[in-house]
Symmetry: C2
Subunit: 506 residues, 2 copies
């Protein structure tokens, strides 16, 4: 039975629409449970608002709420174990007692996957933050799940290696969370997905068993690769406590160039040509449509290109190279630009090549500032989708036309429909910028956008995951057989449904 916490005065906790789950089979944390936790953890590893010595609610706030302040949990207790054994002991206890658990890394997710739905126990991995080993010949790193991504990058730098994953939240996200959400980020085009680079995992299963598959081997064909199940399952099958991962030799040089295109139709032939000429040094190919470029400049994100460079441009592409030899890379990039400009029917109008670190940063600032620009312009409805590259512009245009036909492309409703994203990965960020979040706009967008994505056999969540935000929409990207088997897997690993309840599965 779900016990209403004694400190609550309101008989019913009203959760926002879409995640009004309830777990009648789960119990709340009680003082009796805390007695046990105090036996296995030091006082500093326990934060609780329960008697007899309650911490102030404020101490739990950063754990109960996500960074966007969009998802809100009501957990009474956060535990911060320091070892895998401690995690195991806690989980075993909770499984026996049917207490829901939310594993939490840096809590930087965008879909509410790391925040309690009700008052589940939060297990923060923050105190497990040691590098366990690094082999500077093979480049294989083994680390606690709670290591912050930036700290691992810093650790690798003097060894001349880079982490095969990079993303905006690197200053606070944790590697265990990255693995659990199969984070994509900025280096995917170059280094591939975590399914390829993660070599081993240590996972505490929902019954408290430690599944130790923390090998440091690039090749190991001895039976089922079970660790893969935990990559991207958003902590619903177990808690990742350790990660073994293949890091990459650090590039010696990086360059970038912003290309202005007269029309979207040129993006794909351009991508082919760039891949052909830059080959192994291509590390990013980012699409920016004209409308969102203008928003970025309007809101001071990056330095505007000269008027003559942007005149007549329908969209832009930011190309980045990373390689082992600066001179060679620059030659390849220059030769690419020459051939593009000298073509009989040029695919680009102009290209702006960064010739200094400051210019390099300035070009990236435009791309990285798009999210902020959109937020400054209005209230964005954000869709992180995968569709075939050919359909990038179509998805944006069709969505805009649909809103127009609904009479919503007007002041007081929707201002802009824009697109940008990782062409190289097939990942489009569709942004609908409204004056306010209204049921009217939302009803026009959903399920319209999801149905559009499904029509192209795309993904309704390219990299952000499902969390609690999109469980209702999972069926647009996964067929009934797949969802059925996901449920069977969940049932097999977590028959009591204690681990991250309400997430991923509808």
């Amino acid at each position: 039975m779900f016990l209403v916490r004694s400190v609550s005065r309101t008989p019913v906790l009203r959760a926002p629409r879409r995640w009004a789950h309830s777990f009648p089979q789960l119990n709340s944390v009680t003082e009796h449970d805390l007695d046990y936790f105090r036996k296995i953890l030091p006082p500093s590893a326990i934060i609780t608002t329960l008697p007899p010595n309650p911490s102030p609610e404020s101490e739990l706030e950063p754990f109960n709420n996500d960074w966007m302040n969009k998802y809100h949990g009501k957990s009474t207790t956060v535990l911060k174990p320091r070892t895998t054994k401690e995690v195991s002991d806690i989980v075993k206890w909770c499984n026996d007692r049917h207490i829901g658990i939310v594993p939490q890394g840096g809590n930087t997710g965008l879909v509410g996957g790391s925040v309690p739905v009700k008052d589940e126990l939060i297990i923060s991995l923050a105190n497990m933050s040691k590098v366990r080993s690094f082999d500077d010949v093979s480049g294989i790193l083994v680390a606690d799940a709670g290591c912050i991504l930036q700290s691992l990058s810093d650790y690798l730098a003097p060894h001349n290696y880079v982490f095969p994953l990079d993303l905006g939240a690197k200053g606070s996200c944790q590697i265990g969370g990255n693995v659990s959400t199969n984070a994509g980020g900025l280096r995917l085009l170059r280094y591939g997905s975590l399914h390829g680079t993660v070599l081993g995992l240590e996972v505490v299963l929902p019954d408290g068993t430690v599944l130790d598959q923390l090998t440091s081997l690039r090749k190991d064909n001895t039976g089922y690769d079970l660790k893969q199940l935990f990559i991207g399952s958003e902590g619903t099958l177990g808690i990742v406590t350790g990660v073994s991962i293949l890091t990459a030799p650090a590039p010696q040089a990086t360059n970038n160039v912003m290309l202005a295109l007269p029309k979207f139709e040129n993006v794909l032939p351009l991508f082919k040509e760039v891949k052909r000429q830059l080959s192994e040094i291509l590390s990013a190919f980012e699409f920016i449509d004209r409308r969102v470029y203008d928003l970025a400049i309007k809101h001071g994100q990056g330095r505007a290109l000269d008027a003559e460079e942007t005149e007549g441009a329908e969209c832009f592409v930011l190309v980045e190279t990373s390689g082992g030899n600066r001179e060679h890379d620059e030659q390849k990039l220059n030769s690419l630009l020459e051939s593009l400009m000298e073509a009989d029917e040029p695919l680009i109008n102009t290209g702006v090549l960064a010739t200094s670190p400051a210019q390099f940063a300035s070009l990236w600032a435009i791309r990285e500032g798009l999210t902020e620009a959109v937020s400054k312009e209005g209230k964005p409805y954000k869709y992180d989708i995968s569709v075939p590259l050919q359909k990038f512009q179509e998805v944006v245009d069709i969505t805009r036309e649909h809103l127009r036909s609904e009479g919503l492309m007007r002041e007081g409703a929707v201002r802009h429909v824009v697109g940008y994203g990782h062409v190289g990965d097939g990942n489009l960020h569709l942004n609908v910028v409204a004056d306010a979040y209204t049921p009217e706009v939302e009803a026009a967008l959903e399920p319209f956008v999801y149905e559009l994505v499904a029509k192209y056999n795309g993904s309704i969540s390219a990299e952000h995951g499902i969390g609690v935000m999109k469980t209702h929409a999972l069926h647009y990207s996964k067929n009934a057989v797949s969802i059925d088997w996901m449920k069977k897997i969940k049932q097999l690993f977590d028959p009591n449904g204690i681990i991250n309840p309400g997430k991923v599965l509808p």
Copy 2:
């Protein structure tokens, strides 16, 4: 009940040691079953020795025996479906009737995974050999499981793409089999494992359900990545019928160089230096110990290097580069060689750089001829293992010393203990060359080698898989918890135990 086939006169089928499995719960194929198969398949898709119109036994031989002629099945019937629907119908029937099934691709495996243990029905994927789609912008290829690897490479060549997998058996192995065995091969160092490059799979599950996860998306974080379970599970969880995979832009230039090293201790610092200088164009780093090099030359595998080039060399390393610009790649390679030769304490004695396609092929001929040279020299016990790079030579030397201490390093017993392999992947091929396969040598080698590998937390099967050959040794590389969970997964997907019985799990 297991029915002894009526054509058999021997009451007991004697299987070789180690795979004397029996499946009392499974039934043999009967004429009644064939009646059904004839309803859904054309006559050309059925080969059977059962009445009323039996094919000659010889027609089943290529399916019942592996290419080494080491594993022998007694199947009466091979079906060659042309569509996923046909595979599904067959599997559903067999599941209802409790008939064992062996999915078979090119039957090029090394561990008996694609040959029946008794008289299971063989489903050959050979008739499913169409490319379903190819997108020459994204490089994503979708193909039937029965496509032969070489034919896919040939298909991609005019599009300027390469398959991210290459291996010796490419002329007959099939992509479905490659995926099911998580084949590694020669390009792993460059393009990573199939867990990273396979984007989607279509799988017929043991109850006949079609699990369609055949997406062509690089990024798709919508729930559990179930397809990963079928990569490397050797056909024991379902039959892969379709594969979606990311191919790579074709390199414009390849180069290689054979480096002679005075001592093994130099291999690792050399690997680090080569990785640093060649960075993204390094595509192979192959270790060859002196003894096996000498065997290769003795047996005419590749052209011998000059005496002065090999004098004092304890081992060799073959380095290959693949890149987008011949001139740049050659500059990088030349500059590497110069820096290696001019060092105060050179890591290498000499380096032989291929300057023509013929020389390029000649250097690779040495490396690729090692397997054949070893077979010509005697009877090889072959171990395909992963161990930390630092331990490559140690594993070879310790094994030799162990055999010496057992009095087996002598004429009439063991002639050579040699090692070679993919340093870049941590994958060592340990070869013990004996005069004959004898119980004495085998007893000295096993479990000795497996225990040695386990001591280094290595893998007893880096790329060949488990099949029927190594089920008894699985526990040296997988702990009890892992094996227990593998069994639970198998039970979940295949409760009747019909798919590839006797393989992978002990």
